[in-house]
Amino acid sequence: MGKIKQFFGRRSSWSIPYLIFMLIFVVLPLVLVVLYAFRDPQGNFTFENVRTFINERESVNTLIYSIGIALITTFICIILGYPAAYILSNAKFNSSSIMVALFLIPMFINVLMRTLATVALFGFMKVPLGQATLIFGMVYNYLPFMILPIYTVLQKLDKSYIEAAQDLGASNVKVFTKVTLPLSMPGVVSGIMMVFMPTISTFAIAELLTMNNIKLFGTVIQENINNGMWNYGALLSLIMLILIVVTNLFNDEKDEDSAAGGLV
C-alpha cells in the first residue's frame, strides 16, 4: 500500500497517462509517417517516393500553389484582422465585450457547415466558384484566429507606453508605427502561425468551395491516402510537416513572447 501511495504522491507520476497518450497518438504516428514515406508497398526501403515527387511536376506545383494561397489568405487576414483587433481592444470604440463575442461566435460552428452555407450563398448569388471564392472561404474561416491573438496582445498592452511616446513628442500616427505596432508584433506572429499553417493543409474548404476544381496540397494527400497509395501520401505529409516545423522554428526565434500572445 505504502508504495502505491508514494507512487501517486509524486507529481511526476501524474504525467504518465499523458505520456502514454502522446506516445500512442503523436509520436507513433509520426514515426509511422516517416517509415511509410521511405518504403514501397512491399515494405522495402526506397527513395522512389521522393523521386516521384520531384519528377512529377504536378505535386510540386500543387505545393507551391497551396503555399501561395496560404500566403494570400494570411495576408488578407492580417489586413482585415489587425484593424478589427485594434478597434475591439480600444475602449474608445468598444466598451463592451459583446463585439468580441460576435467575432468569436462563428468559431463555435463547424467548419464544414459554415463552408456549405457559404457555398449555398454563392450559389444563390450566382457567383461562380473558383479561386476567388476559395480565398474568401479561407479568410472567412481563419479570420478569428488572426483577430484573437492580436486582440489579446493589444488589450494587455500597457497604456503607459503609449503615454510615454506621446510625452516624448509622438503624434498619434507615430505612436502607432513606433510603439503600438512593434509591441503587438507577437500577436501578429501568433496570428500568422494560427492561419498560415492550417491553410496549407486544408482540403475540405477547397473541395467544397471550388467544386473540386482547384486542388490544394491537403487535397492531394487525402486523395493518395484514399486511393491506397499510403507510401506516397506519407511522403507528402512528411514534406508538409517539415514545412510546418520550419515555420514554427522561425516563430520561436522571432519572439519568445508569442506564447503570451496566443489564444486565450
Binding site: 503607459s160 510625452d167 509622438a170 509591441l183
Partner: protein, 464 residues
C-alpha cells in the same frame, strides 16, 4: 503681459471623474528652475494634477499655462514638458540607446547629434556603456536612470516626475534622491515631483505643496511646512506631531493639556478654540520633580528608534503626549516636561462644529445628508419646507458598529489623535464629510453607522 517668472501657472483647476471631485479649484504657480513637490496621500489628486500638466487629462475648469502659453487644448506631444513615469514605461522593444533617442529621432535630429546627446544624457545618469543593453535586463534603479535620461534629452522646460522612486528599495531610493537633486542643480530645469513620501519631499524640494481631497492645503518651503503647518492635516502628514485642542486665552498665551503656556502667536482673538501642534522633539523631558517643570506625567512606554527614544507619557491631567529624546526614561517613572514658547504652533481650527445644509420637512423632521433626522419641535416650521443649516458638535455624533440597522453609513477617512480623544473624518455614502470627536478606537476605512440624537441638532435658518 505674462509674468515670465512663472513657468507653470494653474488657475482654478477643477476635475471630476464620475461623481468624484478629484481636483477642486487648484491654483499653483511655479517659478522657473524650482524643484517643487506635490505631496499628499493616495487619492488626493496629485497624480491627476501632474497628468493635467502632461496633457493626458483635460481639466473641467481652469487654465493651464506652461512657459507663458495656454496649454489647455495642446496635445501631450506638443507640450514642452517630459514625464518620468511611476513604472518607467521604457519601450521593451527598444534597447537603452533607442529608448533615450526616441524623442530626438521623432524630431528628426541629425544622427550624429543624436549620438552625442544620448551619450551625454546617459553619462549624466551614470549609465555609460549600457547603450546596447536590453531595457528588460536592467535593474529597477537602472531603468529609472534610463527613464530620466529619456525624458531630459528633449530639453523640456519642465520635468514631471510621477512617484519615480516608489518602486525602489530604501537604500536605492536614498541614492537616487541625491542624484536627482544633483541633476536638478546641474541642469536648472524646473522639476515637478509627485510623491506621498513626506521624507522625500522634505529632502528634495525647494517648495512643497501639500494636497488633500483635491485641495491644496499648504504651499511653502520644507522648513515652513514642517515648523508652521497651517492645519491639523498638514501637521499630521508631515513628520510626527502631537496635535491637541487648545484655547487661545489672549495674544501670546494659550491653554492646552490643562495648562496655560506662553507662545509666540498673535491675532487669534480671545478665548478662541484652536489646534495646537508640538513636534515630539520639541518637548523637553526631565526627571521629576523639577522646578522648571511646566507639567508632569508618567512614562507609559519608551522605545529605542535608532537615534532617539520614543517616549509616550500620560500627563497628570490624563493627556497622552509623544516625546522624542536621546535619553531613555523607564516606563512608570514620573517625569517633568518643558515646552519653549517658539515650539508651540497654534493653528486656527478649520471648524468648531459640523454644519450641514438641510431642509425642515415638518415640525420635528429635518432632511440632511440624504436621510431624514428627527429633531426637537421647531418654531421655524410654518407649514412649508424651509432650507436650514444644522450645527452638530463633533462629540455629539455617535458612531455605531451595527451598520445593518443604521440609517446612515459612512467610512472612516482620516484619524487624528488629539492627546485624549480621536478626531475623525467620516465620509457618508453620498460623499458628505461628517467630523466626529470620539474616545473609541476606529481604523481607517472602517464602515460605521452614524447617529445623531434629536436634542443635539441645532437648527437655524439658512442665510440667503
Amino acid at each position: 503681459m505674462k509674468d515670465s517668472n512663472f513657468i507653470i501657472s494653474l488657475d482654478h483647476i477643477s476635475k471630476r471623474f464620475g461623481d468624484k471631485q478629484v481636483l477642486n479649484d487648484v491654483n499653483l504657480h511655479v517659478k522657473k528652475g524650482e524643484f517643487i513637490t506635490i505631496l499628499g496621500p493616495s487619492g488626493c489628486g496629485k497624480t491627476t494634477l501632474l497628468r493635467i500638466l502632461a496633457g493626458f487629462v483635460t481639466p473641467d475648469e481652469g487654465t493651464v499655462e506652461i512657459g507663458g502659453e495656454q496649454m489647455n487644448s495642446i496635445p501631450p506631444y506638443k507640450r514642452p514638458v517630459n514625464t518620468v513615469f511611476q513604472r518607467y514605461a521604457l519601450f521593451p522593444h527598444l534597447n537603452v540607446y533607442d529608448n533615450v533617442a526616441f524623442g530626438l529621432k521623432l524630431n528628426k535630429v541629425p544622427e550624429q547629434e543624436i549620438e552625442q546627446r544620448v551619450r551625454k544624457a546617459l553619462k549624466m545618469v551614470n549609465m555609460t556603456d549600457y547603450e546596447w543593453r536590453d531595457v528588460e535586463s536592467l535593474s529597477g534603479g537602472q531603468q529609472q536612470r534610463v527613464a530620466i535620461a529619456r525624458a531630459l534629452i528633449n530639453s523640456p522646460e519642465v520635468l514631471l516626475l510621477d512617484e519615480p522612486l516608489s518602486a525602489l528599495d530604501h537604500k536605492m531610493r536614498k541614492d537616487m534622491q541625491v542624484e536627482l537633486k544633483e541633476i536638478h542643480e546641474k541642469l536648472g530645469v524646473t522639476f515637478l515631483y509627485v510623491t506621498h513620501d513626506q521624507e522625500e519631499a522634505l529632502t528634495l524640494s525647494d517648495t512643497i505643496v501639500v494636497m488633500n481631497d483635491g485641495v491644496i492645503q499648504q504651499a511653502g518651503s520644507p522648513i515652513d511646512i514642517y515648523n508652521e503647518p497651517v492645519n491639523a492635516f498638514v501637521a499630521d502628514f508631515i513628520g510626527e506631531s502631537n496635535i491637541v485642542n487648545g484655547t487661545m486665552i489672549c495674544d501670546r498665551r494659550v491653554n492646552f493639556l490643562g495648562h496655560d503656556f506662553d507662545c509666540v502667536d498673535e491675532g487669534f482673538g480671545e478665548n478662541k478654540p484652536v489646534d495646537v501642534v508640538i513636534r515630539p522633539e520639541d518637548i523637553y523631558v526631565m526627571d521629576a520633580p523639577n522646578k522648571a517643570a511646566m507639567f508632569e506625567g508618567t512614562v507609559q512606554s519608551c522605545v529605542f528608534q535608532g537615534v532617539h527614544y520614543e517616549i509616550t507619557v500620560i500627563t497628570d491631567e490624563g493627556y497622552e503626549v509623544m516625546i522624542q529624546d536621546y535619553n531613555p526614561f523607564e516606563a512608570g517613572k514620573k517625569v517633568a516636561m518643558v515646552i519653549k514658547p517658539q515650539d508651540i504652533q497654534v493653528m486656527r481650527k478649520e471648524r468648531t462644529c459640523n454644519t450641514f445644509e438641510g431642509t425642515l420637512v415638518d415640525e420635528t423632521h429635518v432632511e440632511m445628508l440624504g436621510i431624514e433626522f428627527e429633531c426637537l419641535p421647531q418654531a421655524l416650521y410654518q407649514g412649508e419646507k424651509v432650507d436650514v443649516l444644522v450645527d452638530v458638535d463633533f462629540d455629539k455624533v455617535d458612531l455605531l458598529d451595527d451598520i445593518d440597522n443604521a440609517e446612515l453609513v459612512g467610512d472612516v477617512r482620516f484619524i487624528l489623535y488629539k492627546g485624549d480623544h480621536y478626531y475623525l473624518t467620516v465620509m457618508t455614502e453620498d460623499r458628505d464629510n461628517v467630523y466626529v470627536a470620539t474616545n473609541d478606537v476606529w481604523d481607517e476605512r472602517d464602515l460605521v453607522g452614524i447617529r445623531i440624537l434629536p436634542e443635539d441638532l441645532r437648527i437655524r435658518k439658512a442665510e440667503k
